[in-house]
């Protein structure tokens, strides 16, 4: 047992050194880290929000409403198709969050009706009997849609929350319908809530050319069907020439309407009809691309859904030669002249854009509204100083705890054996740090408690071994034999004891959320690594020591 082959000694030493290497960036002060390569210096354990300070929101998406909305759209399409194919029906109703119910006038038309509904969407699941047909989306379709909604919401949240690109938010999916949003280092959650609420409201309006023809930028009166909206260029111009006014507009409470901004600050404005031709909710996609001819200017292309496409087609056909204004968040980003009817369901926006602008704006168009309402179902905010207090308390507790354990071991088993056990405890801590750095796990306050607990538990293996060695020594065995049998016979108890604690740790990890998961992480990691440090590592130390000192008697 104590005759370790050389390669084993090397492997054990290598594992220990590697762990120390991985753990080191967490322990070195910032001044030293500066001089190290960045990839190494930055591979540190993340601090949890409870230590770092920050906000944590668990949001739940209202997928039921999304489905109901979608079914309502579907019911229109089904109605239209049934009419087109001349299938008489009594009613098409939406059962919220579930399906559509089509009631036919005559049972005899059932097969014809089924066919008509299939032409709307072949993937629909149809059931029911007699004169009623239940129309539902298939399970796969629903699952796919759910995933899309959550993914899109995450994307939009990321854009809204991290406008400036400095907040480092963590936005992850939790289960089927939830999103976890964590933003370190912020304390004012109303600001974060404002960002979640933020909209990119996109609408297409016709320009009221009669008013525009007067030539005045800001006409005294406009008809009630019309309102004034500042153009984007106008606002940028205002910002350059009159920064004070621009700041006032941003800070105004309540916010000024576009018309008020036009009247009060007189930037370049356009009179547009209030009626919305198409809204951003009908926009399916938008991309930044380049024009085919005319030198390949950067442009924005967009695609509508079928309803949007139809409305857009009708509006452009009736208004050739007039301007169509694209309003985004209360500013007109462009107002191109309609050259011809645009009926393919897609179109382009040209203007004096840079490539970067087209990219930004297409993203804005695309990420318009959140596809589902998100409700905050759990929230926690930790101020930075509270986090600092927690770090302080955790560090002191960890240092005192491990020091007390170390003193205990020294006193009970003497400088050699106590020293080896304490060295093992140190290696164990390094390995936990290394493991957390590699796994990218976060250290939380309960995680620190887990570390302290692990320090107390990890020496248990050594206690088991040493007590066994004492027993074997009392039986009159030679030092070498007493050590070897001590290790051997304690092994079964060590494994049983560690595995049972491990079961608790793993289940805790599976169940836990947030800080508790941090506790389960350090505890579980600590138990696993302690199996190495307390047994294999100390055995190596003892093997080397025995060979070196060849003790006539064990002082244990």
């Amino acid at each position: 047992m104590l005759n370790l082959p050389r390669w084993q000694t090397i492997v054990i030493a290598a594992i220990t050194l590697l762990s120390a290497l991985f753990a080191l960036p967490n322990l070195l002060p910032g001044s030293v880290l500066q001089h190290l390569p960045q990839w190494y210096a930055t591979s540190r354990i993340n601090l949890g929000l409870d230590l770092r300070g920050g906000a944590h929101f668990l949001l739940e998406a209202d997928l039921r409403s999304v489905l109901t909305e979608r079914l309502t759209n579907l019911s229109d399409a089904v109605r239209a198709e049934l009419r087109k194919q001349q299938v008489p029906f009594r009613d098409v109703t939406v059962e919220a969050g579930k399906n559509l119910v089509v009631t036919l006038r005559d049972e005899a038309n059932r097969s014809k009706a089924l066919e008509a509904i299939r032409t709307v969407d072949p993937a629909l699941a149809l059931s029911g009997s007699g004169d009623t047909i239940r129309v539902a989306y298939s399970e796969q379709e629903l699952a796919k849609r759910k995933k899309e909604v959550i993914d899109q919401s995450i994307e939009i949240l990321r854009r809204r929350v991290d406008e400036t690109g400095t907040l480092e938010p963590t936005i992850t999916r939790q289960g089927d319908e939830r999103i976890l949003l964590q933003v370190p280092g912020i304390k004012d959650t109303s600001d974060l809530k404002r960002k979640i609420n933020q909209t990119a409201k996109l609408t297409f309006h016709l320009v009221n050319e009669d008013v525009a023809a007067t030539g005045q930028n800001i006409p005294q009166t406009v008809p009630p069907t019309t309102f004034l909206v500042p153009t984007r260029e106008g606002m940028q111009e205002l910002r350059r020439t009159n920064p004070k006014a621009w700041e006032d507009i941003q800070a105004a409470n309540p916010r000024l309407s576009p018309e008020q901004i036009c009247r009060r600050y007189q930037p370049q404005c356009l009179p547009v009809l209030k009626r919305v031709v198409v809204g951003g909710e009908d926009l399916d996609d938008s991309k930044a691309t380049f024009e085919q001819q005319q030198g390949g200017r950067p442009i924005i292309s967009f695609t509508f859904n079928s309803a949007g496409g139809r409305a857009f087609c009708a509006a452009t056909r009736a208004n050739i030669g007039k301007r169509l204004a694209i309003q985004l968040d209360g500013e007109i980003i462009s107002a191109p002249v309609v050259q011809s009817a645009i009926c393919g369901g897609s179109g382009i926006i040209t203007g004096s854009f840079t490539t970067q602008q087209t990219q930004e704006q297409s993203l804005l168009l695309r990420s318009g509204a959140l596809p589902a309402t998100l409700t905050i179902i759990q929230e926690s905010t930790v101020g930075a100083d509270l986090g600092a207090d927690a770090i302080q308390a955790g560090t002191v507790a960890a240092l005192v705890g491990t020091a007390l354990v170390a003193i205990f071991m020294f006193v009970a088993y003497g400088p050699v054996f106590g020293g080896f056990a304490n060295l093992a405890m140190l290696v164990n801590l390094l390995m936990v740090f290394a493991g957390m750095s590699i796994l990218g796990a976060s250290l939380t306050l309960p995680g620190i408690a887990g570390l302290v607990l692990t320090a107390g538990l990890a020496v248990d293996a050594n206690v088991l071994i040493y007590e066994r060695v004492r027993e074997e020594k009392a039986l009159g065995r030679s030092p070498f034999s007493a050590l070897a049998t001590g290790y051997e016979k304690a092994m079964s108890a060590i494994i049983d004891a560690n595995l049972t604690t491990l079961i608790a740790g793993v289940l805790l990890f599976g169940f836990g959320s947030g800080p508790i998961r941090g506790f389960a992480t350090t505890l579980t990691l600590g138990i696993i690594t302690s199996m190495f440090s307390s047994t294999i590592f100390t055995r190596m130390l003892l093997a080397v020591w025995v060979r070196w000192r060849r003790p006539a008697e064990l002082v244990i």
Binding site: S190, K193, L370, S380
Partner: protein
């Protein structure tokens, strides 16, 4: 260099199992009292499980005036409120019961809106039976301005819920459940508005009704699953009597730990649950070490009466039991003393777990073996063989 000190080395062998009847009575008593306590005094559930709001506030000028705060927060119409000093005299933990989304919350939302956006604002409950809320602003606003006003009040209402055109009234569509969740935010904002001028809010936590119920359910499952999984493990490794003994010991420790939470009315939060699960794992750790020795001795001394054999095994492992308990105890004691108020209930529970874990492995688990009628000749052939030639390695596989 110093000599090792045999801290827990006793010349005398103790007859532990002689006290098994007394222990049985004591253990039963503790457990019955704990269970009765849970149903009469009740557990002091934290917001993790109950739902609700916890706000840590620090007085800007020195001392927190608890009575004054209690009156202020108590009059906000947010339901039951409890306050306690947290860590030091300037800091106070304000707990508000979970909001159910009733009309009182809507009235609260109106006060929040009025403070944030002007006196003219009105917020009223919408149609009965729904969670709808009607907002009325003094002037017509477009969607962006609506969003802005609502955001200023620290509330989330997204574009889908806000009106599309320019209007001064808006019905915000919400289900009853959504409104209940939303009302947690209203309550936080109400408390913030009421005490924000004199107190710095260091941390806020809110758990809506949905999450609270879920955590409660999954927490109970986690405890059951942990105990069953550990019992199955012990059953695989030992005879069934050991598994039953271990399970009873675990139950004993878990129930009595919960009893400690009842007795001291400690905050039973997620961290507390973590403590309970850890205690289950830790207490069994101790038990298994003794069981391991019992099994070894059963092979060695086939003729020894069970009581003597158990006593012998417990005595042999006694110094280890005490030594490990002592190391864990000092580590946890450091957490109690220095870990700060957040970890307090966790650490206190763990401290109890260390003591009760050591007690239960002797007087519950081992005594249980006696009552379960374990006999030395009952060893499974595989377990019996294992010790021949000291090949314990095989037994681990």
């Amino acid at each position: 260099m110093w000599k090792p000190v045999r801290l827990f080395n006793f010349k005398k062998k103790f007859d532990f199992l002689a006290q098994r009847r007394a222990a049985l009575i004591i253990s039963t008593l503790i457990n019955v009292v704990s269970i009765v306590g849970v149903f009469t005094l009740g557990l002091n559930f934290g917001i993790d499980f109950k739902g609700g709001i916890a706000i840590q506030a620090k007085a800007k000028d020195g001392t927190a005036e608890l009575d004054q705060l209690r009156t202020i927060v108590g009059n906000l119409g947010v339901g039951e409120v409890s306050l306690q000093e947290f860590g030091d005299p300037s800091t106070v933990l304000i707990r508000v019961q979970r909001q159910e989304g009733d009309n009182q919350c809507v009235a609260g939302a109106q006060r929040v809106m009025q403070k944030a956006a002007g006196q003219g604002w009105q917020v009223k409950p919408g149609a009965a039976g729904t969670g709808d809320v009607d907002f009325t602003s003094p002037t017509a606003l477009d969607a962006a301005a609506w969003r802005d006003a609502v955001s200023r009040a620290g509330l989330t209402l997204q574009e889908r819920q806000l009106p599309r055109g320019s209007t001064n009234t808006a019905r915000i569509d919400m289900s009853v459940e959504q409104r209940a969740e939303w009302c947690q935010q209203v309550a936080i904002k109400l408390v913030e508005d009421a005490i924000g001028s004199n107190y710095e809010l260091r941390g806020t936590e809110s758990v809506g009704p949905k999450i609270g119920d879920e955590l409660m359910r999954s927490g109970i499952w986690a405890v059951i699953a942990t105990m069953v999984a550990i019992a199955i493990y012990v059953w695989v490794r030992f005879e069934w009597q050991f598994a039953v003994g271990a399970l009873i010991a675990m139950l004993h420790d878990v129930i009595s730990t919960i009893g400690i939470f009842v007795l001291f009315q400690l905050d039973f939060s997620l961290t507390a649950l973590a403590a309970v699960l850890t205690i289950a794992g830790y207490s069994i750790n101790d038990t298994v070490v003794i069981f391991d020795r019992v099994r070894e001795n059963m092979r060695r001394y086939k003729k020894m009466p069970l009581i003597d054999l158990l006593n012998h095994s417990v005595n042999e492992t006694l110094s280890r039991t005490l030594m490990t308990s002592a190391t864990v105890f000092v580590a946890v004691a450091a957490l109690v003393l220095f870990g700060g108020p957040v970890l307090q209930s966790f650490s206190v529970a763990m401290l109890w777990g260390v003591i009760v874990g050591a007690y239960s492995s002797v007087w519950v688990a081992c005594a249980g073996l006696v009552y379960l009628g374990l006999r030395a000749d009952q060893l499974r052939p595989a377990d019996d063989k294992a010790d021949k030639g000291g090949d314990t390695e095989k037994a681990e596989a």
